[in-house]
Every structure is written in C-alpha cells, then in structure tokens.
C-alpha cells in the first residue's frame, strides 16, 4: 500500500505534513472529526487513504469508522478531483429541458460517467440538484462559471474552452 506521493518512509512523513498542521489546530477528540476532514480536504483537494488512516490513528478511532464518516457526507471526496469540476443540474426545469442529453454529451466527450474524473485529472463530472438558475435551463456549472441554455452541440464548444488551459474560466 504505497502512499499516493510514490515515496516511502520519510516521503510519507513529508506527504502528511499538511495534515499534521491541520491536526495541530484541534484537540485529538472524535467530535472534531468532521472539521478535521474538511480542513484536510482543503489541504489535499480530496481525502487520500493515507490521510484518513493518519486521522484515525491520531484521534484513536478506527480507520473504518473514519472512512464511514467520510463516505457519509457528500461534501467529502475520496478520489482526486479534476482541475475543472463540472456540475450538471438535474433539477426539474433542467430535466424537462434536456439535461439528460447534455449530460450524455459531456459523458461522451470526456469518456467518463457522472461521479468520475478523467485520467488526466482535467475534469470531474457530477450531477447536482437544482442550482437555482432555472431561467437558463438546461444549465451546468464549471468551477464557478455558469453556462446556460445548452444543447448537445453547444456544450461541446463550452468544454473546448476548458481543455488544456490552466484554471480560469471562459464565460459563455
């Protein structure tokens, strides 16, 4: 079971350094588990196995229990996330106006399913309940940008704008 950074021993220690800083901010008690996980996710972008294991050891609770909590809350991610996070709204308005088609088009374009991340870590695809932009239905969010009134073909053009560019959105 290698650590995600690909090193061992002192490498692992170095890898866990940001976590140790998070842990230092809280008393080692089970009731701080959720805030600790939130901060750890902030530091790592997601919650890697080695991080959860160390949290369990430091709080003296079982590894499986920590995993249980991390998988219970949708805010936590146990897989690395893409540079760009796409959220496809599947609320009623979007659903009626073709969100399914849009989602399918994105899945085809990126070769992943909802809930997955592309192997190059460029995109993570998720579906969400109504994001409150029903006037623009069907609508998706990429990072902090909203893209509305999408069709099968226009969504592909939108995606193009995010490919191979570091961060920052192109507003539609």
């Amino acid at each position: 079971m290698g650590c995600p950074c690909g090193h061992d021993g002192s490498g692992l220690e170095r890898y866990l350094q940001p976590l140790q800083e998070v842990l230092a901010k809280y008393p080692s008690e089970e009731r701080y588990l959720v805030p600790i996980l939130q901060d750890a996710q902030e530091a790592y972008g997601y919650l890697p196995q080695e991080v959860l294991r160390e949290v369990a050891v430091k709080l003296n609770i079982s590894f499986s229990k920590v995993y249980g909590v991390a998988t219970f809350y949708t805010q936590f991610h146990l897989q690395p996330r893409g540079k760009n996070v796409i959220k496809v709204c599947t609320g009623t308005a979007c659903h009626v106006r073709g969100a399914g088609e849009v989602l399918k088009a994105i899945e085809e374009e990126l070769g992943i399913q909802s809930g997955q991340t592309t192997p190059d870590l460029e995109f993570t695809l998720e579906t969400v309940a109504c994001i409150g932009a029903c006037g623009l239905a069907p609508v998706i969010m990429i990072n902090d940008d909203t893209h509305g009134r999408l069709t099968k073909s226009s969504v592909k053009t939108v995606l193009e704008g995010y490919k191979n560019q570091s961060g920052g959105g192109v507003v539609a």
Binding site: M1, S62, F63, Y67, T71, F72, T74
Partner: protein, 572 residues
Amino acid sequence: MNKIALTIDDQRVEVEPGTTLLEAARQIGIEIPTLCYHPDLSLHGSCRVCVVEDVNTKRLLASCVVEAAEGMVISTRSSHARRARRRNVELLLANHPNDCLSCERNGSCELQEITHKLGVTKEDVERFRGKQRDFPLDERGPALRREPNKCILCGRCVRVCEEVQGLAAVDFAGRGFNSIVTTAFDLPLSEINCASCGQCATVCPTGAITEVREVDAVWRALEDEDKFVVVQTAPAIQASIGEEFGLPAGTVVTGKLVTALRMLGFDGVFSTEFTADLTIIEEGWEFIDRIQGNKRLPIITSCCPGWIKYAEHNYPDLLEHLSTAKSPQQMFSTLAKTYYAERIGVDPEKIYTVSIMPCTAKKFEKNRIEHRDSGFQDTDAVLTTRELADMIKEVGIDLAHLHEEDYDSIMGSLSGAATIFGTTGGVTEAALRTVKELLTGEPLDRLNLGILGNREAEVEIAGRTYRIAMVSGLANAAEVLNQVRAGTCDLDWIEVMACPHGCVGGGGQPLPNSREQKEKRAQALASIDEHKSIRKSHENPAIKKLYEDFLGEPLGGRAHELLHTSYQARPR
C-alpha cells in the same frame, strides 16, 4: 418494583419493568421474527422485521427495542403487522443476490429462514427488484471472506466488533442506496486492524461474512495416496461439534469425534491438548525465568492468535511481554513434521497437517511466515468446527450415533489442564498448577478461575504473591493493557483470549454461538478436566518422554528452536 401488565394477542402478561415486547411475547410462547436483534449485543432496531401492532394507536412498534408499558394492547399477528413484516423482508431481498444455492450459509442463514417462515415468494420479491448493489468481494483471506452484496445492514458485526472487540474494523459506510457495512476503502480484513477472530462471522445472519473454506484442500489431501494426513482437534471441539448433529450444547463427543475423523480417512488422529500441555511447560518455565530475572513482567499468554494479531496492531510497544511460546496448534504441527515423522519413519515432506479449530484466527496464524520451523509450512490446513461438521455430513456419517475410539498413542496422552485451555481462565489455571509444583513441589488445588470478562486474582506460591489477570474479549483486554502501558498496575501474569468465554465461543464454532451455548460448552470442558486422572501438564507421561527423547530441556536448544516464535509490529 411493580410488574407491568399488558395484553399480547388477547393474553394478559405480567413482566418486569424494562422488558421488551419481544421478550414479553416469548414469555407466553410467541416467537416474533428478528434480524438485527442479537441476544448478546446492544439493540439496534433498524430492520423492522419484528414489528407488532399497538392496537390502541394502530402504530407499528419494533418489538425488539420497545419496552412493555402498563395497559398496552399488542397484536403480533394483525394483518397490519404481518404485512409490514413481510414487506420489510421483501425489500431486503429485492437488493440481495438471492443465490442461496451457492451460498455458504445455505441452511443456516437467518434471512433465508425468515423468508421461508413469512411465506415470501419469488414474485413478491421481483416486484421491488431494481438496481443491485455491486461491492467488491474480499476473498484475499486467509481467515475471513466478505461478500458485502449479501449484507442486510443489520449492524450485528459492527456492534460485536466495536462493543466486544473494541475495534470497529467493519463499519457502516456510504449513505442511502449506497449504504454498506465494510472496511476502510474496502480493504481486505487481513490487511487492516482486525484480529481475524471471526466474531463478526458468528453474528452475521447471512453469508456476508464467513470463514475462508479449506474443505476442498483437505479432501484433496485425503485422496492423495502420497500424503500422510495428520489431524489435531482443539480442546473446545469435543464440547461443541455435537450441536451440528442435533445434540444439546455442552454434549461431550470426544470418542465419536475420533471415530468420525478415522472414517474420513485421516492417517493420524490427535488432540491439540497434547501440545497444550507442552505450551504450559514452556510458558511456565518462561514465567519462572522472568520472575527470577525480574524481567519483562507481566508475561502475557500467546496461545490465542486473534489476540496476537490485535496486539501487533494496537500494542506493538508491549510485544516483548508476550510469551514467545507458540500456540498449541503450531507446536503440534511443528512436532508432527519433525518428532512424529521421525518416530513413525515417514518423510516429513509427505505429512499434511490439518487442524480442527473453533477459530478463524488460526487460519491467519497458519500462514504467518514465522511458522516454518519444521522446514515446511508447519500447518497445512485449518478447518473450523463448522467446516469439519460439513465434511462429516457430506459423506453421511451420523456423528451422534458413532461408537467411541481413542486418539492415537504417540502424542496421545493428555492432561485435564490441557482440556480447559478451551475456556477463559483455563490457560492460567493450567500453568499455575505446573508452576506451583515446579517451584515448591506442592500441588495446587483447583482455582476455578474460568469466568467471563475481566478477572483478577492473587495466588501465593513459595511465599510470594503473584497477581494475575484473565481477560476475554478484546475490549476487555484493552482495559488491562492500557494499565500495563501506563504502568498503573502491578501484574505478573495476564491471560488474553480474543473471544468472549475463550475458544468455546470462537469464531469457527457452531451457530448459534451465543452466551447460552458458550457457557454450556465451558462447563463441559471443566467436567472433563475434573474426571481426568492426569490433571497437570508436567505429569503427562508422553510429554516427559518427548523431552527425554527429543526436545531436551524446556526452553533449551531444540525446544527453543521448534516451540518458540516471534512477533511483528503492524500498522494501526
């Protein structure tokens, strides 16, 4: 306190305050089906297959958790209650693989039984069938196998592992449709902080957690002309395997067990009690040596591999306290491929060693790299009590009606001290009988130490008082070990057994494996001990001969080489 009066199915019942509706109904002979309920665990109240109707309010109540209240009128059989119970079972089956024919628990599965009892049909289940869960199998072994798709989320394993073993190696994960009971990141149990004790497998109502089966490998060995197959039976087996053949818990079937094993084709049939005696001698001398050198005290027993794995994960700093004496299983297998092979003139390469154990942790132990002192893997296969019963049933042997035979003679004589190894407190009592006599020449009267949970005692030997503790259940063990770690206790000897009540309640024992069965099995072992003519390990003539002819001195050269082992720290 005043009793509580209520009506159940038109009968008046009086019960003590705090009695649940389930228990109250039982008092008048009404059995309500249950799944998440287990008599030895805390209440969960989640499966709702035990619902009954409160006739006054028309509400459905989970009878396993709701307590009887004065004046209640309950119907366990109203159509409302019956339909709800069925519906709840149907919903469980709708997301269940339903491949009973290939399931290890076919015939002993509580979900199957309840389906049958409530008259649920295939059509009923198909109505609700939708998307199925798809969780990975954990069959990396060597002790336990998990098939999470068969989990009905009753939480029994979670409770036993957390409440009794203090580990929570399995827990609820995910939410909604994706809820499951699993390990962190679905890792194999063998690779995480799990003792391999198998308590989870004994409380699981379905086939979601079972032992890794080795029956086929043993059949292959028995059918192989070139193999000389030697079997050892742990002390607890003789007092429990009868249950698989319809005998009451605690029926002693030692002789019938021996006969059945010969009928199956084993070439040598032995009892692990022989090496339990040997463990006592080695561990006893080790204790004396540590007392005299005043080092590494308290000594902690090492015969339970579930406890060993737990200690390696959770108390790596205390490993030097463990006795280095191997478990009786491992001592036996090592000797089978050395001493015994030499005595009967068989090439040790041809010897195949099988042990019949009440235990799943012994399967893990068998595979440890430390256990190759004979020049081969010392133990080749470990069968649980349940697996052996399956083999015996497969070939149609009715164990209950067999005649009785004796174990083979070479490593065959056994003391009563060895028999009580199968129960908590037994190892300590056995060892003290020997230690006292070795030190003073005076015999020790029976201490009757066996008891559940944590127990401390003081024993005076040759003018010095020894403080001893005996614990079973790993959560209980943790209490004592934390004191040792903190230096706040002054103990000389600690016996730890991972399973509550010790091996009589082991993870490989017949089901049900509840307190009631365990107590009866423990009593049976104590009575065998009482009736044995040799009750002390060092008086066992075959053991004396083994030292004279082969091992030399206790703790000495060959004994040290073949009968002692080492431990490794493992991550939390």
